[in-house]
């Protein structure tokens, strides 16, 4: 079973909800093939973020991709958003089926 799994990077970004459009479209531009967004609540350096109204809502963005894209996405987050927005990012290695789905897409789509 495990022999069918390939290792890819899973980037998880937990950030304020107003960044959804900006981050997901940038990730697509960099070459990520897709993403998943869910609403999130929690507490941290910026106090309680309980989602009771839009200014206080967090989201969790998950992106599966190869290492090259992951590095570029992390660079972008660090340069553009980290200094001014509520944001936590972590990257894990995960096993995926159909690894070709999570490869850099530039050669396929922009050719």
């Amino acid at each position: 079973m495990t022999s069918r799994l390939s290792v890819r990077k899973l980037i998880t970004v937990i950030c304020e909800s107003c960044l959804e459009e900006a981050i997901t479209s940038a990730a697509k531009e960099i070459g990520a093939s897709g993403y998943t967004v869910s609403d999130a609540r929690g507490s941290g350096a910026h106090g309680l973020r309980d989602g009771s109204w839009p200014e206080n809502a967090n989201i969790r963005i998950e992106i599966l991709c190869d290492e090259a894209i992951a590095t570029r996405i992390l660079d972008l987050l660090l340069e553009t958003y980290y200094s001014h927005y509520t944001m936590v990012t972590f990257v894990t290695d995960v096993g995926v089926l159909r690894p070709e789905k999570f490869q850099h897409r530039a050669s396929q789509s922009q050719g």
Partner: protein, 313 residues
């Protein structure tokens, strides 16, 4: 004899401060704000249909011009008196230069309860006043930065739900007229005050959540949250008397000028001026100015309008 909608706000405030487990789901907040924006737009549109819209051109220009004084004054006070950085002063200017739909709704509910008539087209000013304050605030914040994406900002404001629903409601109301709206008026007009009450319950909870921010922000911001609406309301009343509005109209214009945005402005500023600290401007507009306006401000603006316009007759 208090207005029940204000008592709902106070109930929310008490529940929030006493850490009750009462929570209004975020989806309901969204749904109610959509409802309120549409209802106010529709009401204004129906009133507009009874007037000649071209007669409003001069009042709109005058109001837009005097309203621009508000963000400029707010910026100067926050920057030079309060000592805030350009970004934070600009963010405050944008919040105070823009308007609050719910404050306007409470103002019209206050006048209706006292049977004071007011011009039905006041909600046209509500739509107009959403925009210039935000733009001026961002411009002042980014004066020398030079990297503002104005296109993105304009899209954020014009395609934002406040403008889409207010303008959309105005148009539907204008095209349909009072009679055309009769079939949907049970939802939008009969239920209006009850739903406004639930929204204010939620606003009380949200305001209670900002109190912690206020403790950190100090005496200047708290005074700013009270003095700024008084200055803006004065500009509003003088403008209303120039335009020859009724006492009710002057009260609402003062309320609009005095109100600070907490729906459109925070979202636009967060993207356009990310270095501004959002808890400062939201803390002031929601934590101080909003409760001040709906409890003390509106009756005060009414009294001042009566005094000024009554005296000039």
């Amino acid at each position: 004899m208090s207005d029940p909608v204000i008592l709902f706000f106070i109930l929310g405030l008490i529940a929030g401060l006493s850490r009750s487990d009462l929570k209004i789901p975020g989806v309901l907040y969204e749904s109610l704000s959509i409802f309120l924006l549409l209802a106010i737009g529709l009401k204004g549109g129906a009133a507009l249909a009874q007037n000649n819209p071209s007669a409003l051109l001069v009042p709109i220009l005058v109001v837009t011009f005097t309203a621009m004084l508000v963000p400029v004054l707010a910026f100067l006070i926050a920057h030079y008196v309060g000592g805030y950085e350009r970004a934070d002063a600009g963010s405050l200017a944008a919040h105070y230069g823009s308007v609050s739909v719910v404050t306007f709704a409470v103002g019209s509910s206050y006048l209706t309860r006292l049977s004071v008539p007011f011009e039905g087209f006041m909600s046209v000013f509500l739509v107009i006043l959403e925009i210039p304050g935000l733009l001026i605030g961002v411009a002042l914040a980014r004066w020398s930065a030079g990297d503002t994406r104005w296109g993105v900002l304009m899209h954020e404001i014009l395609a934002g739900k406040s403008i889409v629903l207010l303008v959309g409601g105005l148009m539907i109301g204008y095209v349909s007229g009072e009679q055309g709206l009769a079939s949907i008026s049970p939802v939008f007009f009969t239920l209006f005050k009850g739903l406004l009450a639930i929204f204010l319950l939620e606003m009380g909870l949200v305001t209670a959540g900002r109190v912690a921010d206020l403790k950190k922000s100090g005496i200047f911001l708290i005074s700013f949250g009270v003095i700024m609406p008084l200055i803006s309301a004065a500009i509003g009343i003088v403008t209303a008397s120039l335009l020859g509005l009724s006492v009710g109209g002057a009260t609402l214009l003062a309320t609009l000028f005095a109100s600070a945005s907490y729906i459109a402005a925070p979202a636009a500023i967060r993207m356009a001026v990310p270095e501004a600290n959002p808890s400062l401007s939201i803390g002031a507009s929601l934590g101080i100015t909003f409760p001040f306006n709906i409890t003390v401000g509106i009756p005060l603006y009414y009294a001042a309008s009566q005094w000024l316009l009554g005296a000039s007759l």
